[in-house]
């Protein structure tokens, strides 16, 4: 087993990996940019190396700096977490060259699955069902129009190097194709410095269900069942759960087998996730394979009892899988809510800033994977994730009420967070019934929210009035010139979700 591991990441996932290492008796090495000196992943590590200025492009994404820190610290392995260099084959090759074990799959597997088009080719050859569309990146606008015509609208434009919902555009008709292509390419360029795009038939109202697999270098594979990831906004997952209400044991077994086949097809070593689109008839189509530890891995840990990060490290150290397929049992139900520093009442605008107070939820069945603490300033340079709140219940009903309870206990002040959004989802009838697809949030939820009456308007106004009463008494506050209040009061006021109605 490794004696020392460098974690080439930051925030909650770096902390998650450090926790696994500490429990395995492995020394941890953190890397940090200039704004992250106070960050939790630095405070909790055994060693820490400064790797440059705040922008990821000058620190967390610079291979030379990561390798240099690994060499100086004598780390035998590097855990990339997710994002940053996690699915970068060049980095994987460099690690190999330097004789440092990258905790993840081979560069070859990353390349195969990293290119959506090559991935589709590969798994299709292995008998995995895929969505109709191109398997090659598309060169010209003309070609886009031709292919779209062939497979028929609606179509999806996707960044070949894509992930995390970036460089994705749904196009319902020819008229939007040109502008959407421009946006997709520009986003892809800025996010992955690669603007190549491919096109796919768009499955109407699909569910997004994924299978977690583990594979060792001895050719053993197991799957840990599915995660239901259909609760998305702007094509980005925000709530995940396991099991999925629509997946029967038979379908689960079939998806698991296919997922493992996909893994084998790429000689996959480590932990990986095979994503599927599931239509109304519960047909499933391969969407992509993520060759990394997934943000939402904890929901699977909660229902299977398997510590996925520890397994990942053992696999990287060359050990055989510690469990066989028949050892894997799903018990109860788990849900994860991703808590971001975003304002759900202003179209999820990012809200970086200082966390002025914090109360994390506790009690039975509650797990908080956080990257912050009271007094931490969330930098503007990285994804604004605060923590992943995960609950376990003996069934879905208990898990949902428990999540609602935990979200109610969760206090984060100083920055806006998505906690209120999650509470509203937990209260939504369709969600409670498990009746949703990937369009639920954008198409259904916000509509219903707009109609909803808010119950405690008087308490809200009265509390604000008491605060104002005390403020005014404390001092006559220097006020802004008359009328300057408008911008705030006019800013998209009319379309704010959750607006109370009066009759």
């Amino acid at each position: 087993m490794f004696r020392k591991i460098l974690i080439a990441n930051r925030g909650e996932i770096a902390v998650r990996v450090e926790r696994a290492c500490q429990e395995m008796g492995i020394r941890t090495v953190a890397v940090y940019s200039e704004v992250d000196r106070h960050a939790l992943h630095v405070r909790c590590a055994d060693e820490a190396y400064l790797i440059g200025p705040p922008p990821a492009g000058e620190s967390y994404l610079v291979i030379d700096k990561i390798i240099d820190a690994a060499r100086k610290s004598g780390a035998e392995a590097i855990h990339p977490g997710y994002g940053f260099l996690a699915e970068n084959p060049t980095f994987a090759e460099r690690c190999e060259k330097e004789g440092i074990k990258l905790i993840g799959p081979s560069a070859h597997a990353m390349r195969t699955m990293g290119s959506k088009t090559l991935a589709r080719k590969t798994v299709r050859a292995a008998g995995v069902p895929v969505v109709p569309g191109t398997v090659e990146p598309i060169a010209t606008e003309e070609e886009v129009f031709r292919v779209a015509g062939e497979i028929g609208f609606p179509v999806m434009l996707k960044a070949t190097a894509g992930g995390g919902g970036k460089g994705l555009r749904l196009v319902r008709g020819e008229e939007d194709l040109r502008s959407s292509l421009r946006m997709a390419k520009s986003e892809a360029k800025s996010a992955f410095s690669d603007d190549s795009i491919y096109i796919e038939k768009y499955i109407e109202n699909p569910r997004h269900v994924e299978i977690q697999i583990l594979g060792d270098r001895h050719g053993n594979y197991v799957h840990l069942g599915e995660r239901e990831c259909s609760i998305q906004r702007r094509h980005q997952k925000v709530i995940e759960e396991s099991p999925s209400v629509v997946i029967t044991p038979q379908v689960r077994a079939a998806m698991g087998k296919v997922a493992i086949d996909a893994g084998r097809a790429a000689n996959y070593e480590g932990v990986g996730t095979v994503e599927f689109l599931v239509d109304k008839e519960i047909n499933f189509y391969f969407l992509e394979m993520n060759t990394r530890l997934q943000v939402e891995h904890p929901v699977t840990e909660m229902v299977t009892g398997v510590d996925i990060v520890k397994e990942q490290i053992r696999i990287a150290a060359g050990e055989k899988l510690s469990l066989r397929q028949e050892d894997v049992k799903q018990t109860g139900h788990a849900i994860e809510c991703r808590v971001y520093a975003e304002d759900p009442d202003r179209n999820f605008m990012p809200c970086p800033g200082l966390i002025t107070s914090l109360r994390t939820p506790g009690g039975p069945g509650v797990r908080d994977d956080s990257g912050v603490f009271e007094g931490f300033e969330i930098p503007i340079y990285y994804d604004p994730i605060i923590s992943k709140l995960v609950v376990w219940g003996k069934d879905r009903q208990e898990a949902v009420v428990r999540m609602k309870r935990a979200l109610g206990e969760y206090i984060v002040t100083g920055v806006k967070t998505t906690i209120p959004f999650h509470i509203r989802v937990m209260n939504n009838q369709h969600f409670l019934e498990g009746n949703f697809d990937t369009n639920f949030i954008d198409k259904v939820f916000f509509q219903e929210e707009r109609e909803r009456e808010l119950p405690h308007f008087h308490v809200a106004v009265i509390t604000a009035a008491i605060q104002l009463f005390l403020d005014e008494r404390k001092q006559a506050i220097a006020r802004r010139p008359v009328g300057a209040g408008e911008p705030a009061s006019l800013w998209k006021y009319s379309s704010r979700p959750g607006m109370p109605k009066f009759r």
Binding site: G408, I411, T413, P420, V459, V461, A465, S489, W491, G498
Partner: protein, 166 residues
């Protein structure tokens, strides 16, 4: 003390009177309530409204309040009566004017309109990027682009003036 809360086109008058340590007699829409209010943690208040217990997160800048209770966000403006009267005066002739401001720190990626151009309510006028997400900001009113305060590529603070529609 008398306060006016404005939510959409509706106004509510609230009277606050201190009747003990952290205890207030509050009158709203004719009803009287005894309220026990303690600011327990930063912007978080523990409220006993009669004997009903609430945790209330009060965020106010200037007269605009955003109050969180059980995951619901209550947005309204609140000010004392005199202040309200002043505002009413000040508002005269400003109708249909809208300043588009940046709701977060970020970078101006693209201007979608030029000065003098006609825009409709909710028409996208500018794209601001923060944390690698592009956000299209819309005009709140119908009118003509009077002035543009920023250039493409410019980095702006939260609340920065972007452009004025009149």
């Amino acid at each position: 003390m008398n306060y006016i809360a404005t939510i959409g086109d509706r106004e509510i008058k609230v009277t606050v009177e201190e009747v003990g340590v952290a205890r207030y007699l509050v009158t709203g829409e004719g009803k009287e309530h005894l309220v026990d209010a303690h600011q327990v943690q930063d912007s978080i208040w523990s409220i006993l409204y009669g004997t009903d217990s609430f945790e209330v997160d009060v965020q106010g800048r200037d007269e605009e309040y955003e109050v969180l209770i059980d995951g619901d966000c209550y947005k309204f403006s609140l000010m004392n009566e005199q202040r309200k009267a002043l505002i009413r005066a000040g508002r005269k002739g400003a109708a249909g004017k809208a300043l588009v401001t940046s709701p977060m720190p970020g970078k101006v990626v693209k201007l979608l309109v030029a000065e003098g151009e006609e825009v409709q309510t909710d028409q996208g006028v500018i794209v601001v990027e923060a944390m690698k997400m592009e956000n299209e900001l819309k005009s709140a009113v119908t009118g003509k682009v009077k002035e543009i305060f920023v250039k493409e590529g410019e980095v702006v603070e939260s609340g920065a003036k972007l452009l004025l529609v009149e």
